[in-house]
Symmetry: C2
């Protein structure tokens, strides 16, 4: 590399982005310097602003610039229905479905004892407060169908048991458009176990 020291630091800094290796980082740095300095400055400004000012909703823990996020503050969302998800991106995925009208609780991860991630880290205290403060009738566990996600769902269902709230888990099976031939046997086993009567 015969870049200037600052340019080398910029290329190195771009590597904090997911999926960005040395070649891509170099391309990004040169591209902005050569053609899009104003947009580069704009990105720097927004990025700093976002890193400093985007916090978590005090109730559901998703990203928010205000104490309560838009969804928690909205009077149009059903407070008797709560969906528990791992990450803010999962919230966006569920919202894109367009039919869920309840509220959310974001764990910001999943239980992972080996990495030292316990109940406190997934916000069990905040979940407790939320459950006590709202007339919740059903909690949908929508953690990912991974080993950690399943373990977290199991832990949460045990945790919620004393409240006498209906706890459900999202269905697992063959995704729409999927072909059996290419789907792992674990998923097929789940789709058989969860089979429904055809009317």
């Amino acid at each position: 590399m015969h870049a200037t020291p600052l340019l080398e630091r910029l290329i190195q800094a771009f590597r904090c982005l997911p999926g960005v290796g040395p070649k891509t980082a170099q391309r990004m740095a040169f591209f902005l310097l050569q053609r899009e300095r104003e947009k580069g400055k704009h990105l720097a400004e927004i990025l700093n602003h976002a890193m400093v000012n985007i916090r978590h909703c005090l109730q559901c823990r998703t990203f928010s610039e205000t104490e309560l996020c838009k969804l928690c503050a909205s009077p149009n969302r059903d407070p008797s229905l709560l969906c528990i998800i791992e990450n803010p991106t999962d919230l966006i995925a569920v919202e894109q479905m367009g039919t869920y009208r309840g509220r959310y609780f974001v764990l910001l991860g999943h239980l992972s004892p080996l990495d030292g991630i316990g109940p406190e880290d997934i916000g069990i205290k905040e979940l407790n407060i939320l459950i006590n403060a709202n007339p919740i009738k059903e909690i949908i566990l929508a953690t990912n169908p991974t080993v950690e996600g399943e373990a977290t769902a199991h832990y949460l269902s045990e945790f919620i048991k004393p409240y006498n709230i209906k706890v459900t888990r999202i269905a697992h099976g063959v995704p729409l458009g999927g072909e059996l031939e290419y789907i792992d046997s674990g998923t097929i086993a789940r789709s058989f176990a969860g089979r429904e009567t055809v009317d």
Copy 2:
């Protein structure tokens, strides 16, 4: 999208990076917010600093924080040999070869009359000054083997003619490791036209 306004602006801002579409931009924003805030702030700081402070070398026009870049300021580079390239990234590519000991001149583009890019834009004035101020014996035209690159090389060779300096063009042909079967006929034609006697 149910992101906060600032988060949406951040996702939008990431799209100024080359090869970053809406999905990747979203992934970058959430990744930094969730796991790498400090690195995100660091990137913002370096990015702004770089956009503001990285200018061009007054002599060769590559990126530089100082008036003269490291290569132009170095007493170890042969001032009688000049390599003309299109972009600062080309300079890095040539330097990686490790055997070139001359100096460079960066056009920062190529002639493109349709886009209004003329001789002034590729630094013909600066090139003139550089040629007059240095004991140059050979100029290597290393613009890309594209239509515009070839046209630019042709223009430059005409421009340099009055100076009685030897002008050379990098060889074009089948790249090392390339297979004839997969190489375009234009390149094969160049490799035939430029064939050399085997000793």
